[in-house]
């Protein structure tokens, strides 16, 4: 019988000596605790590295047991994340990470479940699931890597691509208006919403820590450039000008105020909204009690 061997190529674990020694000081800080031995397949300079760094820091601070960590993703550049995390990973199908992650958490509530994906995966093909995972308030942390483009298929328009942008499937500019994912999530009555950008991993770290600690569904929309296929919309250059801290005095328990921020046309770096309501498991416990009473 022909037994295939794991050969080194794309996502295979290749750590050459130079890379290994370069990483040794990072390792001593514990920042590699949550990185697998597989090297990311993302382009050099991609914003996803910044997001991953912020996330690694947050998990390291919270000290989540690796074997209890599950990262579920759909399809896209961000979808490859599970291979790069030191935990259990499920790289699933396009747009369906949320239902799968929900099933993981519902069946095994003791696990810490992260769900990751891009804007096409989350707001395009999988957009229908967001409302319902929010209704159930399943205790998941959902990170959307929003680069306003389909990167893995090489640069087609996505639901967050600004109107009129030229892409490979819109040579004369897109005809559609982009969606406002923060506003939509708030309208669905999400129990935790934060926005941020890939260029500031330290703030992402604090946001992710809050999100992971939130009991219920937490959604973080992270704007990030696609340096390979988008040279117009979001680039590293205009990031710092576009994002600002959450205005002082903003009440994160006030959904109307959060909606005001979401429609202000500005981009904020921080938690827009958070409330405390029973998560799915708590609701199930109540139903189980009722059912056997």
């Amino acid at each position: 019988m022909n037994t295939p061997k794991d050969k080194p190529h794309n996502t295979e674990p290749v750590l050459n000596k130079r890379v290994a020694s370069g990483l040794s000081h990072v390792n001593s800080d514990g920042l590699l605790n949550y990185r697998s031995h597989a090297l990311p397949t993302w382009c050099p300079g991609c914003g996803y590295y910044g997001i991953t760094h912020g996330l690694t820091q947050a998990m390291n601070t919270l000290n989540i047991p690796n074997e209890n960590l599950v990262v579920v993703s759909g399809i896209g550049c961000a979808g490859r994340m599970p291979f790069f995390v030191n935990g259990y990973g499920f790289h699933s199908i396009h747009g369906r990470a949320l239902p799968i992650a929900s099933g993981v958490k519902m069946a095994s509530p003791e696990l810490t479940v992260l769900c990751v994906g891009g804007d096409g995966d989350g707001f395009g093909i999988g957009g229908g699931h967001i409302a319902h995972v929010i209704r159930r308030n399943v205790d998941l942390t959902y990170i959307v890597f929003d680069n306003s483009i389909y990167g893995l298929t090489k640069g087609q328009a996505s639901p967050t691509t600004p109107k009129g942008q030229v892409t490979s499937t819109s040579p004369f500019g897109t005809a559609e208006d982009p969606i406002n994912p923060a506003l939509i999530s708030l309208a669905y009555n999400v129990s935790f919403l934060a926005t941020g950008y890939a260029g500031d991993p330290d703030i992402l770290n604090t946001i992710f820590q809050k999100a992971l600690a939130h009991r219920g569904f937490s959604m973080i929309i992270v704007t990030t450039p696609c340096i390979t296929f988008d040279h117009v919309n979001v680039t590293w250059n205009d990031f710092r000008d576009r994002f600002e801290p959450i205005p002082s005095g903003h009440n994160t328990g006030d959904i109307a105020a959060a909606m005001q921020l979401a429609i202000s046309g500005k981009n904020y770096n921080g938690v827009l909204y958070q409330d405390d309501r029973p998560d799915w498991e708590t609701r199930q416990k109540a139903i189980r009690k009722k059912s056997s009473g």
């Binding site: 597989a38 209890n68 995390v85 369906r96 799968i100 099933g103 095994s108 696990l111 229908g128």
Partner: protein, 588 residues
């Protein structure tokens, strides 16, 4: 007075007249007396309005294979609807009708006007007697049951016991007045007719075995519960919804979860997610829902995740005939999806098998790390049978067992190790030392994406190879009929098997050189026993409820032998009479 082996009773009314609940009580009473029953009602897709409801049940001394098509007794709770059922009664049938109907029934709309020579009319003042007993016409269905008890020499006490069970949650008054209504119908026939008895059933002995009257949906749901279901995710769709409704009540007390998802894609997504963590999870749907699930089923094949899907088939394509039975999703179950996507397909033939195969499905799914699709249909999902509880209790788990990995220090875990039998030891989140990632992409033994031909070939073969063991371990198809060379070999699957078996045992065909072969495992098909059967048949006939002959095609492919098709879409269960006629024609 005629004696008969089995009796078919139809109670026909407008939706809301109580035709269906009368049959429920009749079933229970007959089961208490020790008879076997098979009950298959029909009602419209619309909830109320003036739709026709027909409660249809068959009572017998011996176990039943079909609910029968032509009635010995038709009860008219609504004359207009009963008239349309007259084509489905025997020439010597009895007709129970309201002998003092309300004035507004026009003469040519009265069912009594259609009594033919040979039939017996049983006029009973159903409304009046009901009014005397319960002060309204509401219990005329119960009065009619009393008449049936007298007409077929059935013990009225068993009916009263059944009424008490049916109305156990209602007040004692409700039970009393309905018992009174029953007695009035009973006495009326006894007192007003010279020869009250229409036919008698060959007597049975009352036994003490606990009997449950369940339909296929309920049996499958109980099977899932007994298998230790953790999560049920589903989206409402006829005829599968009752499985979710049952589990919504029964699963939470067992610490399980039922989630009604936003669509079928999310339903199977939840199931795959739960299966990925090593827990038992299931969904149930019908054809349109299974269409939506195919992509996720492919993922479960590629990522080797255990999951169980019940597909209760209805008439198609598209929304089709939601409340009518058909067996036309076989191809979808076998092949739906992209790429080479082997999965297990099982088709139970009767209600007890719905229980047994659902339990087995979880074992198969776990042992072979695969999706398992159970094919029920509207008929099997909704037909009630008396099930001896010992059948449920004597189920022996452990026919197939899951292989779980142990961590080996210093060696990376190979979740998809290529083994001789194709099964790789599994590991689940939470297990230390076995962390890995899985993917819908083609992958190496360690689970990393890989697009090379050699690896893809080895993995594709491994995923197919898994099923050889199942093919060998699963019981061979039932084979009936004389030994040696046969003029005709009849094959069938799922809920149609009963009608074929009844046809083969009919006086017209009994003793002829005809045999039957009835597989339950439809993928992987058990090639050898099927070939063996086909080789001793001059001709093969495949009976199924679809128009293209979906199993017939599979049988031809497997046995390299032409199969004649009795493939029909009558929007109802197959008729024994049609099968007998067809086979007689083939023999000529």
């Amino acid at each position: 007075m005629k004696q008969t082996d089995s009796l078919v009773i139809k109670i026909c009314g407008s939706a809301g007249d109580g035709a269906i609940s009368a049959v429920e009580i009749l079933n229970r009473a007959c089961a208490l007396m020790g008879f076997h029953i098979m009950n298959f009602d029909s009602y419209p897709a619309e909830i109320r309005g003036f739709g026709k409801s027909v409660g249809h049940t068959r009572i017998s001394r011996t176990p039943l294979l079909t609910p029968g098509r032509y009635a010995d007794c038709l009860v008219a709770l609504n004359d207009m609807h009963a008239i349309t059922e007259l084509k489905r009664i025997k020439p010597d049938a009895a007709l129970v009708y309201d002998s003092r109907p309300p004035d507004y029934i026009e003469e040519d709309c009265a069912v009594a006007g259609f009594i033919e020579p040979g039939m017996s009319g049983y006029g009973v003042p159903l409304r009046e007697l009901s009014a005397q007993a319960v002060k309204s016409a509401r219990s005329r269905n119960i009065v009619a049951l009393g008449a049936i008890a007298a007409m077929y020499n059935l013990d009225p006490e068993a009916f009263i016991e059944a009424i008490n069970i049916r109305f156990a949650r209602k007040s004692a008054v409700v039970r009393e007045i309905n018992s009174a209504a029953l007695k009035m119908g009973y006495e009326y026939i006894r007192n007003h007719r010279e020869r009250p008895v229409h036919k008698t059933l060959l007597a049975v002995k009352r036994h003490d075995r606990p009997i449950r009257i369940v339909n296929g949906n309920e049996a499958a749901a109980i099977g899932a519960l007994d298998a230790g279901l953790t999560l049920y995710a589903g989206y409402p769709i006829t005829p599968a919804t009752k499985i979710m409704e049952y589990l919504a009540k029964k699963l939470p007390p067992k610490n399980g979860t039922v989630v009604q998802t936003e669509d079928e894609i999310a339903a199977i997504g939840h199931v795959v997610g739960a299966g990925y963590t090593g827990k038992r999870a299931m969904t149930a749907t019908s054809g349109p829902g299974l269409c939506l699930m195919t992509e996720m089923l492919n993922l479960a094949v590629q990522a080797e995740i255990a999951c169980v899907v019940i597909n209760s088939m209805r008439g198609g394509p598209s929304t089709g005939l939601p409340t009518k039975t058909e067996q036309a999703d076989l191809n979808l179950a076998l092949y739906g999806g992209s790429g080479d996507s082997p999965r297990v397909v099982l088709a139970p033939a009767n209600v007890p098998e719905c229980y047994i195969m659902t339990r087995r499905a979880f074992e198969i799914a776990e042992a072979f790390q695969t999706p398992v699709i159970l094919l029920l249909d509207f008929f099997l999902s909704n037909r009630f049978e008396d099930v001896d509880e010992t059948v449920l209790e004597t189920f022996e788990p452990g026919m197939f067992k899951r292989l779980t990995a142990e961590p080996v220090s210093g060696k990376p875990f190979e979740r998809f190790r290529v083994t001789d039998n194709g099964v790789s030891p599994a590991a689940f989140p939470g297990m230390p030392g076995l962390k890995h990632a899985i993917t819908g992409l083609e992958h190496t033994p360690r689970g990393f994406p890989n697009y090379e031909g050699d690896n893809h070939r080895a993995m594709t073969e491994k995923r197919r190879r898994k099923f050889i063991e199942l093919q060998n371990a699963w019981p061979h198809p039932d084979v009936t009929g004389p030994k040696g060379q046969l003029s005709i070999g009849v094959l069938s699957w799922g809920s149609s098997i009963g009608a074929v078996r009844e046809a083969l045992a009919s006086p017209e065909l009994k003793g002829l050189s005809i045999g039957g072969c009835f597989p339950r495992l439809l993928q992987p098909l058990q090639t050898e026993p099927l070939k063996l059967f086909a080789n001793r048949c001059d001709r093969l006939v495949v009976v199924e409820l679809n128009s293209s002959g979906q199993l017939a095609g599979l049988i031809e492919q497997t046995t390299h032998k032409k199969a004649m098709r009795l493939a029909d879409v009558p929007a109802e269960p197959p008729a024994v009479e049609q099968i007998v006629r067809y086979l007689t024609g083939v023999l000529k």
